[in-house]
């Protein structure tokens, strides 16, 4: 069988009607992982025995008539989610020996829904990066051009879906870590409204920005995955208590009358011409489907990167304090005293980018600097959110490029952090405002690299965004294309 061009709903239907067993399906993907991971490096950990055991349980559930909508469909999980009995590294040497003793909320949900885990995907260390080059486990290669990055930090997740080493994957997005790699690898990824998916068990980078979401070939796939992931969790104080939604409910709604907001700041200087052209072509496609466009302004979004690089490192510097060598994780083998143990453990356990952000965060929170940096950044964060609130008075969804360019070459930007940070120019504002955002493929550049289109919706408008994306994907096939000629 060839499941690689089959949607999640079709795979689930084949499983439910016993045309294929979950064990068989899982084995097909395990074989492909075995064949390709040496090239792509998308997975940090695979454990076929565990995967097949979970698949067998899914088959039993199907046989017992207890199957849910996705039972038996295998999925890959970003290595940021604690997974009971699995090595959970967060892409860091610091946790290179950490076998989690419990399941994150997201893992629990997918287990309960009967989706066997194919393994843990590679990522930038502690989710700090836009290229997946900061991983202790090595760079992930973009399946469209293995000399290029897949984006980050959910680079392993994006690459494994693009290479069809998994039908779907979980990701997390703090400043674009789902959307930018989705754009670079030609898949669809969605960052939900902050608070929609519990952060319990998801190793924290910047708590006020982190949000988990689905990554898969299509919007319809993402809607089905989102149905599994969302829901109130009393273990996360920022989890929102809302009625359960079916995110597939509006997929087939026509787009007539849809007002698409085009922020002029997102089509300005710095945007690659090919990307601009592809996004504009997508806008034309939506107009054909009955949408209208309106120019809007997100004037403060130009401050999003400096604001983000104050707030996210501030939170990270504190969140990463628990990695001290005392209770779990890496501890320096030799040290003179307590302070030396801390210093050596953290010097050895963290990579350069993580250290850079801990230093920035420590600095901006320091006595005498707090007001000038942290407080000021929080004020601007509110202004950015206010810009969006104003914009949504005039439009139903905001559309623009996901990233300023397409996938860059491995090593191309790794010596220039600021150049690297600019990659998240368009994605960060949604995180700062807590808004949902998604990326979907809208074309290819002259080098054959995928181009991503970003939608940002108002709070809790995931169903509407998925509707727009799905309608677009019904009349285009960018999302259905996959890299040819991948070899082990």
């Amino acid at each position: 069988m060839n499941p690689f061009d089959t949607s999640l709903s079709a795979l689930a239907a084949q499983l439910a009607t016993k045309q294929v067993a979950s064990r068989e399906l899982a084995q097909v993907y395990l074989d492909r992982i075995a064949a390709l991971n040496g090239t792509i490096n998308a997975f940090i950990t695979v454990d076929p025995e565990k995967t097949l055991r979970e698949a067998a349980a899914a088959d039993a559930a199907i046989a017992a008539g207890q199957a849910g909508p996705l039972t038996g469909v295998p999925i890959a999980h970003k290595d940021i989610f604690c997974t009971d009995g699995w090595l959970t590294t967060c892409g860091s040497k610091m946790l290179s020996n950490f076998v989690a003793p419990y399941d994150a909320h997201v893992i629990e949900r997918f287990k309960a829904a009967g989706l066997p885990s194919l393994g843990k995907t590679n990522m930038d260390e502690f989710a700090m990066g836009s290229s997946n080059e900061t991983s202790f486990y090595g760079a992930v290669k973009n399946p469209w051009d293995t000399a290029r990055v897949p984006g980050g930090s959910s680079g392993g997740a994006a690459a494994c879906v693009a290479a069809r080493m998994a039908p779907a994957a979980t990701g997390t997005d703090t400043g674009g870590s789902i959307r930018q790699p989705a754009a670079f690898t030609g898949i669809t990824g969605l960052k939900p409204t902050y608070g929609l998916v519990s952060r319990y068990g998801m190793i924290a980078f910047a708590s006020s920005l982190d949000q988990a979401g689905p990554m898969a070939p299509s919007a319809e796939d993402c809607a089905l995955l989102l149905n599994v992931m969302t829901g109130f969790d009393p273990r996360d104080s920022t989890s929102l208590e809302r009625d359960k939604e079916d995110y597939t409910r509006d997929l087939d709604k026509p787009l007539a009358g849809l007002r698409v907001g085009l922020p002029r700041e997102f089509f300005a200087e710095g945007l690659n011409n090919e990307v601009a052209a592809a996004v504009e072509a997508a806008v034309a496609e939506l107009k054909k489907l009955g949408a209208t466009t309106v120019e809007i302004s997100l004037a403060n979004s130009k401050l999003a990167i400096p604001v983000y690089y104050v707030l996210a490192p501030a939170e990270a510097s504190s969140n990463l304090s628990r990695f001290d060598g005392v209770r779990y994780g890496h501890r320096a083998p030799e040290y003179a005293d307590l302070n030396d143990m801390y210093a050596k453990t953290r010097a050895q356990g963290f990579g350069a980018e993580v250290k850079r952000r801990i230093l920035i965060g420590t600095y901006v929170l320091s006595h005498g600097y707090y007001d000038a940096y942290y407080l000021q950044a929080q004020k601007i964060r509110r202004l950015i959110a206010h810009d969006f609130a104003e914009a949504f008075k005039a439009c139903d969804v905001i559309l623009g490029p996901t990233a300023p360019g397409t996938a860059f070459r491995i090593g191309e930007k790794s010596d220039d952090p600021v150049e690297m940070y600019l990659n998240d120019l368009y994605t960060i504002p949604a995180n700062l405002a807590g808004l949902p955002g998604m990326s979907l493929p809208c074309g290819f550049d002259g080098k054959g690299l995928p181009i991503g289109l970003q939608l940002v919706g108002d709070y809790f408008s995931e169903a509407k965004m998925l509707n727009v994306a799905h309608q677009y994907q019904r009349v285009t096939d960018w999302h259905a294309r996959r890299p040819e000629g991948l070899q082990s």
Partner: protein
């Protein structure tokens, strides 16, 4: 030069919730190390704090009890520092927006009332414990205490002597146990005091440089530590030295304070609002629901005791030393109908016996009802004070009800005047010399005769009746 002492106290009270402030683990004291430490308490990657409403309600109770302002929106911050018994590398506390601000406590020192104002009280989590013994030169970490809820109560620097500081600390201790938010157990660390101490020339407006004495876990140590510290600071200044801001520890063995760290070594805690927790919002309904659970407070009860039972201000303050003591007194007073007598017995005989046996009022072998019954028997003349003390001993030993002890031990005061008259006559006949001396004007001789009658009655004669009869017969 005359010096003035300035003291402010920071008191850490462990809140009497069943579970921790941000996890479901038990807060019970004394369990085997690390058996009450969950994934959240040991700060595994990915875990998150969830606020215990019970801890918030303790803080609301306290704010209401001291007449403070309750911040309708209060915020948890992270206080960042590395220490092995601090699992997250930060302590969740409240800095900029604490739950309680203001309020006051009135204390009595040397018969003078003084009001001490409070700056604030905020919720925070306790750290674990580092154990430096029994690990062959290594340090053991016990995280059972990590995450235990604390209310840190900060006073204004308004105390001017160790006696005032102790009076304030005692009043605070009474209050937090009274309203049930803290078990008050100082040995187990449920009530820990830090004292900020400085001195200044009398009349000077500016404060002197303070030193903070950490972690005093008894009122006696509090007094000793402050007294030593004040002497040391004055001597240092009079010798031409300077006081450097510092944190010091009190050594109960030597009775001295010694430097722990200087201001230069102080941490930059890099406080910022904890993004894992929402601001705590208090609404009227919640506050009023908590208010409804508050018992009558010590100050109000003291006023009522004076008005209702006619006891002195001093007695009222002693009797409200704890809620259990006050309840005991009220029960005994009501049972006997003799509040003043009840007050004397509770503060006298009963307290002495409890102290001697090192028992708490709640563990008293003599119930309030029985003490009340005993007092009734004094009032109706059945017992003299002396006989009553014998009955009390019986009650203490568990010999049963008051009347049964009187009966069984033959302790009834002689009420038959014929029988007493007979004894008086016999005594007068046998002590002619004393009778003559009395008639010659020696008042002392009368007392000797009273004593003889009491002796002959084996203590059971009513002394007032004896007086009357003797006077009548000798005229």
């Amino acid at each position: 030069m005359k010096w003035e002492t300035v003291i402010g106290l920071e008191v850490h009270t462990q809140l009497a919730t069943k579970s921790k402030i941000f996890s479901g683990s038990s807060t019970a004291f004394g369990a085997a190390p690390n058996t009450q430490a969950s994934a959240v308490d040991i700060a595994l990657p990915g875990v998150l704090p969830v606020l215990n409403r019970g801890a918030v309600e303790c803080a609301i109770k306290f704010g209401l009890a001291i007449g403070a302002n309750l911040n309708r929106v209060n915020v948890f911050d992270r206080k960042n520092y590395f220490y092995p018994d601090l699992p997250k590398g930060y302590q969740i506390s409240q800095l900029a927006k604490p739950i309680v601000e203001g309020g006051a406590l009135t204390v009595v020192v040397d018969g003078t009332e003084k009001t001490i104002h409070l700056t604030r009280a905020h919720m925070e989590e306790d750290a674990g414990k580092s154990l430096h013994e029994d690990f062959h030169g290594m340090t053991g970490i016990d995280l059972n205490r990590a995450g235990t809820p604390l209310l840190e109560i900060v006073s204004e620097p308004e105390m001017r002597s160790s006696a005032e500081a102790v009076a304030y600390a005692r009043a605070l201790h009474t209050l937090v146990t009274w309203i049930g938010i803290c078990d008050g157990n100082m040995q187990e660390g449920s009530f820990r005091v830090d004292a900020n101490v400085s001195v200044r020339p009398l009349g000077q407006k500016e404060f002197g440089t303070r030193r903070e004495i950490k972690n005093l876990n008894s009122f006696r140590f509090l007094q000793q530590a402050i007294d030593y510290e004040v002497r040391w600071q004055i001597e240092t200044l009079e010798d031409g030295g300077r006081i450097e801001q510092a944190t010091v520890l009190f050594d109960p063995d030597s009775g001295e304070t010694r430097m722990m760290r200087s201001k230069e070594e102080a941490h930059d805690y890099r406080y910022f609002p904890d993004p894992d927790l929402l601001p705590v919002r208090l609404d009227d309904a919640w506050i009023e629901a908590v208010r409804a659970t508050l018992p009558e407070l010590p100050a109000a009860m003291q006023t009522r005791f004076q008005a209702e039972y006619g006891v002195s201000a001093y007695d009222a303050s002693v009797l409200t030393g704890s809620r259990a003591l006050a309840a005991y007194f009220e029960a005994a007073a009501q049972k006997s109908g003799q509040p003043k007598l009840a007050a004397n017995w509770v503060m006298g005989e009963l307290s002495a016996a409890l102290n001697k046996a090192e028992l708490d009022i709640a563990q008293s072998p003599v119930s309030a009802a029985r003490l009340g019954a005993l007092i009734s028997r004094i009032q109706d003349g059945t017992l003299s004070g002396k006989l009553a003390r014998q009955v009390f001993e019986g009650l203490w030993e568990g010999a049963g009800e008051v009347d049964a002890i009187i009966e069984a031990r033959g302790l009834k005061q002689m009420s038959d005047s014929g029988e007493l008259e007979k004894i008086v006559d016999e005594v007068l006949a046998a002590n002619q010399k004393s009778v003559e001396e009395f008639r010659a004007g020696k008042e002392k001789a009368f007392n000797a005769l009273v004593g003889q009658v009491m002796k002959a009655s084996r203590g059971k004669a009513n002394p007032a009746q004896v007086n009357e009869l003797l006077k009548a017969k000798l005229q």
